[in-house]
Symmetry: C2
Subunit: 251 residues, 2 copies
DNA sequence: CGATGTTCGCGAACGCTGTTCACCCTGGCG
DNA sequence: CGCCAGGGTGAACAGCGTTCGCGAACATCG
């Protein structure tokens, strides 16, 4: 068992070269993605040409184009998660500041990589269902956890105003019950349903303002989305009970 | 001049048949869109086959596939606008009730037509720029006007709490200035910048909750988006100063 | 009515796509 | 050294959007 683990950590050279080629393929595909602006720009033949191979050779590394795109999507999630965690760890160990930093990192990455944002947060490329998409949903869950952990910590350290179970209404209370149950047994033992709903609503506002900006659906009113985003952060800071912790971005 | 207008109103029979064929093409394309779930499902050859023609024949009606999709997008906007206006006119002539009805119509159409929603509110199919996309942006502006007119009427009849120009900050105030200027001279003479920002933020929340539901990015927490959407409407009703006007949906 | 010119639809073709297959060549193992 | 699994190639297939030339149907005018 341990020997297997060691062999997994130190793979044979062919496996190393193979993994290296796979990452190079994905890097080139990423370049084509940003150059074209959408996922339609990543094509098997052109990607293969830029890595110095022919199209059929890529089938040694990916079962097909869809799986390449899927693998890219997972990588993009991990990259975004990394940026958010780096931002979180680069500020003082205080939950409000970390929430602001993570939120800003989310927007910064999104506006800097609109094509990638569209891949992971826009229309799901492959229809959602039980299949290899799970790997992608799994990455999305990891992404959500970055926010969720901070919210849980915020709730534990500085409980914010949240609706009671009675305020939620029966239908919403029933809808959130499974996720609340999972959250209770896994991450947040003492978080009420109302706090989970407030967390969801905060994510909705964050996603809404960033998605609208990235998709260009806000340009008819405001050319740059940052001021509105910062105002959203300010409002959220008040909603969560730490208006004094809000500071304009470092820039 | 009037004779020309009459001739425009009563086109020759060839023109009528031509227009009829064009709409039939778009209807079939719509069917393929919903069947496939995304815009990639609308293909020239298959659409032509279902209308009883061959692919090159479609070029007599549309310059290419992109223009067909663009024309479909405009039609979808108009359809959604029609649903929203119908909902607005089907309730009592009271602005708060009409806002609720229009918002619910927006969500209902969106969740009932996810593929269409993705076409007009997701990643812009064709890159935004100065070109035939203007026709599409124009339709988007008409869509926004349905909401805007109601908000303006709400502001005139029952002014809601809005930040002052000082509260907005210089950058956001400068960003919104052009749109605020256009709004002032065209639709709302006495609306302050703060009210426009509140309007934008309400649209952000509405778009966020609906887009997340339609794209399936909320299913990890709640299977059905309606309760959360209704809670959003309830919150917005309070934000806009008419919490007593909120009523659960008729259903 | 007959001639004319415009419109419409079709078949063939071009270049492109993702994908499959048979073949070859090379690197690592027994 | 011999072998063989694995990486890479070229040809091929089906399908895509698009272009072109031709024939037939249509509306219009003499």
């Amino acid at each position: 068992m341990t020997a297997q683990s060691v062999e997994q950590a130190a793979p044979t050279r062919r496996e190393r070269l193979r993994a290296q080629t796979a990452t190079e393929i994905k890097q080139v595909a990423r370049q084509h993605l940003v150059a074209a602006g959408n996922v339609a720009g990543v094509q098997l033949r052109s990607v293969a040409r830029d890595v110095g191979m022919t199209a059929p050779a890529l089938y040694r590394y990916f079962p097909g184009l869809d799986e390449l795109v899927l693998s890219m999507t997972v990588d993009l999630f991990d990259e975004l998660i990394g940026e958010m965690e780096a931002a979180r760890d680069s500020v003082e160990d205080e939950v409000a500041s970390q929430l602001l930093a993570v939120s800003r990192a989310f927007r910064s990455w999104s506006v800097a990589h609109p094509a990638e944002f569209a891949m992971i947060f826009g229309t799901p490329a492959v229809s959602f269902g039980h299949g290899p998409v799970n790997e992608c949903e799994e990455a999305g869950a990891r992404f959500g956890t970055v926010f969720a952990q901070l919210f849980i910590r915020l709730w534990n350290e500085h409980p914010f105003a949240a609706p009671t179970d009675g305020d939620l209404g029966d239908t919403l209370s029933a809808e959130i019950a499974p996720y609340h149950e999972w959250l209770t047994v896994s991450l947040a033992p003492s978080m009420p349903k109302g706090a989970v709903i407030v967390f969801l609503e905060a994510w909705v506002k964050l996603y809404g303002v960033v998605a609208l900006e990235v998709f260009g659906h806000l340009q008819w009113a405001i050319p740059d989305g940052e001021p509105l985003f910062e105002r959203t952060l300010k409002t959220l800071s008040s909603d969560f009970g730490f208006p004094e912790r809000y500071r304009p971005p470092k820039a």
